[in-house]
Amino acid sequence: MSVKSFFLSLRNIIRAIISGEFLLRIRVDKYYMHIMYLFLLMWATILLSLQVDKTLARVGDNKVALERLRIHHAEKEAALVKLHSASAAEIRLKQLGSEATLPSEPATIVKSK
């Protein structure tokens, strides 16, 4: 193909595109359904990919939230357990001015028949 004929073809293509006849001229209309199908697939792929990204971002946020809850739980558990010893109870009772002390006799157990 000479340079002249190349530029001539290019001019025709541009004109056809501008006048909206390009696809008809190259007889693509018979592949219309295929093109639409391809377009739909691509659109669906992009949409799904965006949704996956969004979901994974939420998963990341939830992981952070869960980790924070775990830390809170550990801190609160430690604080509670600290109070849950005989010595801690004795000290607390003393601070509150209570006369109650740790038991000196075992508890009496009532067993039902």
Binding site: L56, G60, A86, S87, L102, P106, K111, K113
Partner: protein, 638 residues
Amino acid sequence: MTKRQSEIKDNIENRDRIHVVMFFLSYFFMALSVMILVWIVKIQVSYSVDDRVIGLFRPTEQKHIETPVRGRILATDGRPMAISAPLYDIYMDCTVRKQDYRDSGKDSLERVWRAKARDLATYLSNEFRDKSADAYAKAILEGRDKGARYLRIQRNIDLSTLQRVRTFPLFKEGPYTGGIIVEEHEERIYPYDSLARRVIGYVKEQNRIGLESSFDSELHGREGYEWRRVTDNKRWIRDLDSASVKVQNGNDIRTTLNVDFQDIADKALRNQINANEDIRAGICIIMEAKTGAIRAMVNLSRGETPQTTLWERENLVLREVGEQGSVMKTVTLLSLVEDGYVQSLEQTIPTNNGFVPNYRQDVHILDYQRETGRREISVMHGFEISSNYVFTYLAENYYGKQPQEMFDHIYSYRLGEAFDFDITGLGKPVVNRPGTPGWSKTTLGTTAYGYGLSVTPLHVATFYNGIANKGRMMKPYLVESIEKDGKVLRRFVPSALNESICSAATADTVTRALKAVVNTGTATRLKSAKLQVCGKTGTAQVVLTPQERKGSADPYHDTMGRKKNQGTFVGFFPADDPKYTILVTVYSYLSGKSFYGGTMPALAVREIVDKIYALDGDWAEVLHPVATVPDMKKTTEK
């Protein structure tokens, strides 16, 4: 023009065209090579990378390492004794936006920032209460003037505090305006503070002790990783196309420790030794007789000087290998009864003025002779008053010709080996048996009353537990199970070190002797305990180091006559149906005073026994209703 001439002309024209093309091509490539050379020189000399260019080459994926959460160490009832949680350090970049404000030429922006910094100082002062608001404000504003980019605000704060701090003025504007810098570091939280800290232990780089060290592979878990990519919204998300390894958090360790018993033992020991600055350390073991499960293990000690506070500094229960004194007379008695040399505890031996050839005279026998006027003493009474003479005489008399026989017993009681234990580092006993360098003609006798044989307190407690368990010597253990999210992965069942160290009849006979020690012997302070305790006291002098001896020829005394004592009480309770074996030992500094097993250790044991009696449901009074309460609802309906 002929055809031939025409062909020649065409050839020449073609050649000229090729020449022209080749000419331009060669110039093009020449120019290109010159340009490349110029670029190479430029890159080498003066090229600086444009940020936009870096952006193009920056990887869109990052490898994210996920560290596992360390497993918890639990008490036997599930109460956590060690938990992992992150703590945070807060720093401040005081110079944040300073240059921007200066460049913009608006002084008002800088003034607003400084006003917010003063507000922040007030909030920080109210939150942490360690410095005044003025002190905080001064530090921040001076830091801004001097260019401090890393001003320490507070260290080791928890997540709740951090979340509050993030809402403070200036800090709530984030790192790029507020200058807040948060650094996270994983920390181990011990809710019970010093309680059983030596047993729980820790892992800090090269320093590894206790259960944290022995079970590190279980507690640690396994690191994971995942590749992350950035989304169009600049969010980092997991890249599902890349390989990832899921993080595995550490398993939990459920110990046999009973927090209440540990607390009671710790407090009872402190009550006895806290005020006495001659006491260097005190230990306590409480072991379940039937299983060997250790319910409490206390290791309190002071530092080099008596002024230091009592703390769990070293695991003396496992590592203090030493001569245990008279508590080892039970070893001799058990062997003699088992071998049939002592048929009855009432069997008598001559007193011989407390003298056995080659041995030091036992002056207590002279007192006995004087008080009773008798020239013979029963084995039982010798055990009650803890007579060295009686046990030297018995050992020499019955094992003198066959000393190996007695040492075979010692080995069968596992007093000659460092048996397997859940915490590494159990001290190896030193047994001066026949044929070893430490053996002499007096070793048999001294071993019979507790010297010459060096063991750890855990060995002693395990031996007494064997007697409490009618001859079945259980292996002491500290870990019950390995768990994951409450589900048991592996359970450790009790096992025996020696299925039978003696017959049940021998164990009963020795138990009778141990009861007599508490009733009429050296441990009468335990007579009034709320559960009947039986056991043996022991007072031993500790061999001094050459530095402590300061030139003294006596291995037990320095030149000023001072010595190091250890007083022990070891036994079990209730005597008739033993549930727990208990050992308490106190160790003194170099001192002129003596510390006996029948004093501080016995008093600590009494306090522990009384409190366990009140807390343990086993001794509770059980009431069975003898009548039924009428159903009042039915009566009313009628």
